[in-house]
């Protein structure tokens, strides 16, 4: 695992005329995880996009070492291609990896076009893409949405393994995660 570190200082986010949150700070060392909780619309996804560098923060700063992997509600897989080929595109970008399809129980679906997959299957495919990327910092926006019980258990297992291997994880989810070094930020406390 590459060296990684993630720190946020006094982050604030504005959407339109409204300040969503302000004063969010945290620092994560290798192996640590952070769970963001709070009601819908409080800015969990925005915070994840700010940490990823995809959105400008209204205030504050993010310091990050190590590449970032993101799983959100969009799988970034071509809907017309069979799943195997859609993931093969990312393998060509990220470099060859061992068989993450089998790990996520997707081997049988390799020939099925992505547009025929269910929500949960697409989420599993996105997790397969994340595994292939081999990024030390994982940003997961509702990673368990649409997953059945066994797939959710698998996703939790992947997160635990990632942290045990010295990776960092930021998770926005309402479900519980049991991790040794897990911190929680209740976004409601930072709402403006």
């Amino acid at each position: 695992m590459q060296e990684c570190r993630l720190a946020a200082r006094d982050l604030a986010c504005r959407r339109g005329e409204r300040i969503l949150f302000a004063g969010v700070s945290f620092a994560l060392e290798p192996g640590e995880a952070l769970q963001l909780v709070g009601p819908n619309g409080i800015g969990k996804s925005s915070l994840i996009r700010i940490v990823a560098g995809l959105m400008q923060a209204f205030g504050g700063a993010v310091e990050r070492t190590g590449a970032c992997g993101l799983v959100d509600e969009r799988p970034a897989l071509d809907p017309l291609l069979p799943l195997g080929e859609a993931l093969a595109f990312w393998r060509r970008i990220d470099g060859p990896t061992d068989n993450e399809l089998a790990r996520l129980g997707l081997s049988d679906l390799a020939d099925v076009p992505v547009r025929y997959l269910s929500t949960g299957q697409k989420k599993r495919a996105a997790l397969a893409r994340l595994l292939g990327q081999d990024a030390p910092v994982w940003l997961l926006d509702e990673p368990l949405n649409g997953l059945d019980r066994s797939a959710a258990a698998l996703a939790r297992e992947l997160v635990a393994e990632h942290c045990a291997a010295g990776g960092i994880c930021v998770i926005a989810s309402h479900q519980e995660f049991a991790l040794p070094a897990l911190r929680r930020i209740d976004m409601a406390e930072h709402a403006a």
Binding site: R49, A52, G53, L54, M55, Q56, A67, C68, G69, L70, D72, R74, P75, A76, L77, D78, P79, L80, F89, W90, R92, I93, D94, R129, Q133, A135
Partner: protein, 219 residues
Amino acid sequence: MSGRLAALLRRDLARLFIGGRRGGSALPVLFFLAVAMLFPFAVGPDAPLLARTGGGVIWVAALLAAILPLDRLVEPDIEMGFFDQWALRGIAEELVIAVRVLAHWLSFGPPLMLAAVPAAALLGLDADTLATVELGLLAGTPGLAALGVIVAALTAGLRGGAALAGLLVIPMAVPLLIFGAGSLAPGGESGLALTGAVSLVLIAMVPFAGGAAVRASRN
């Protein structure tokens, strides 16, 4: 890095050439041929008139055909999260857009130049005029491709973006049309060079304009 470039180009070509159920390159080419076929029906079988106006008709048809694939050039990749994933991997929007212009041009420029041969026959153009038309298309279609990608990136995510994109391309393509079709007039050969010049300017602009537009669409 070159592996990534090849992967991007390969994906773009597969999407734009075959394009699944949405037609790919076949659709603009068929549209182009349909316009060339309709024109003689509309103005009647007056051979000298057709030969005099045919070159201009081919240019207008090419411009309209270039508008057809606009809605799937940039917007789907923003919507499906591809641009975000590329950004996380340090692949700049400018690079993606530059590759896309190349793929877009390959998917409609050369096919259009091939289709111009039967179109010229339908309009009764002579061989010299056809040669000038082909040279003009070679100089002008890269500019049309660049223009298409810029406008597609600018209108991505807007309501009615596809219709708006078509409306925006038409006035901005006027210089290409004037110089390109103008090269067919007697003594208008310098039009070819000017068409190429307009194309070069557009191609030089597109990675930066397109990249900035994609980034702006995130907020």
